[in-house]
Symmetry: C2
Subunit: 273 residues, 2 copies
Amino acid sequence: MSLEGLSINFATIKQGGSFGVMVDACLKQGITTISPWREHVQGVGLEEAARIVSENGIRLSGHCRGGFFPAIDEDGRRKAIDDNKRAVDEAAAMNANCLVLVVGGLPKGSKDIRGARQMVEDGMAELLPYAKAAGVPLAIEPLHPFYAADRACFNTLKQSLDLCDRLGEGTGVAIDVYHVWWDPEVEEQVARAGRNNQILAHHICDWLVPTTDPLNDRGMMGDGVIDLKGFRSMIEKAGFFGPQEVEIFSYNWNAKPIDEVLTTVVERYRTVC
Amino acid sequence: MSLEGLSINFATIKQGGSFGVMVDACLKQGITTISPWREHVQGVGLEEAARIVSENGIRLSGHCRGGFFPAIDEDGRRKAIDDNKRAVDEAAAMNANCLVLVVGGLPKGSKDIRGARQMVEDGMAELLPYAKAAGVPLAIEPLHPFYAADRACFNTLKQSLDLCDRLGEGTGVAIDVYHVWWDPEVEEQVARAGRNNQILAHHICDWLVPTTDPLNDRGMMGDGVIDLKGFRSMIEKAGFFGPQEVEIFSYNWNAKPIDEVLTTVVERYRTVC
């Protein structure tokens, strides 16, 4: 079974430390699609990262991440837009399939989630022409409602796709099973996203029972309760055949040698995804 | 300001230990509405609990809890129905305003959340005639999606109200701000529930940033990011003027003397709710 359909998000192997080490570990397994985080790229420098990507025939299923648009004042929102433009530049230089957006939650001290959502919409509307000119699609990643306050005030596919519809071309969603598996409307919304060509990425991991930590206890595929094959089938039925990107934030897995993590990922990808 | 609109869910003061101690602590503050858990009632015995309630003019905004309908086999589902009937009996004996249902998540080993939802619907349909005969409304409490796997596979108001519509009279929802505050459709669904007289309870606490524990780090009203006054206004606009029931699962608050907890609850109720 070819590993063309598999991508490694570098959060999964962040213990590798540097961009080069993580890329080499993927290549050693025969994995040629990745999704780095900005700090990994900036650690080695964008030019060098782009060279490594290009010379090794590596594809980027996404670049992580832009977003965090809400801020307590205009100055803060302005800085967020500027920073997002740099993220777009990075994504473009590495020819990433999309820039993944963790859109941001409530500004410090605020209880106005509707206001925060408006700031996200305004910020994306301002960023979009720049991203389109650079040829970088913007992928809203609806995060699990657990993160509504501090990371992303867009928490369902429906809500995110409604925003994509308002913003128009050049926007879409990153569908992470961890964030949306529980949603009673997930099937119809995945189908809707497919009809409108709004699926930009498909992230996988698993939901552990119990989940002991809200941030860093995501599971390896197969260790939890998500029907991953069923989910993939739903995604493909909607017309998306891009890679399954493994993104596992986990105290447990991030403490293991990255070769062990990747060997396990490949084995699970071949059996349960 | 009268405390008629305030109810204390006994999870908030469970360190009190016994039904009598918790009731006395509430009465001492002038609070005459409560929502006990089954173990508190069973600890003192249903007859004695009903006597304490009746002799002190206490009202129950709810009885916690029934539910947990899904099970791996027919025998397990049958036992769940029987146990729910005992919960209905208790609620009836204490004249509770409703039986709160934490409907249950995935049966052990299952990845079929749609199947679990069907088990909930089937279980409630079977329980309903018994509950109606006893005069006890069944209140589905949609739980935060964090609990979809292990506690409740109904996680939004819309999903829960759709089920109530299918089941008909004698069913409704318990709206807990902690579970639904993030929902982009919360306003329209609260209004819908009001139109159909489906609001049976209104629970309050707060969402802390950060929330360090997924189960036991709920906040005291005012310490988090939920717009409680705005939420109450939305609920009253929908036609529900029943008590605000304080339900705080918290390592922090459950470690304090219950008089201190209740004094704080009263102060916050008067200022931020």
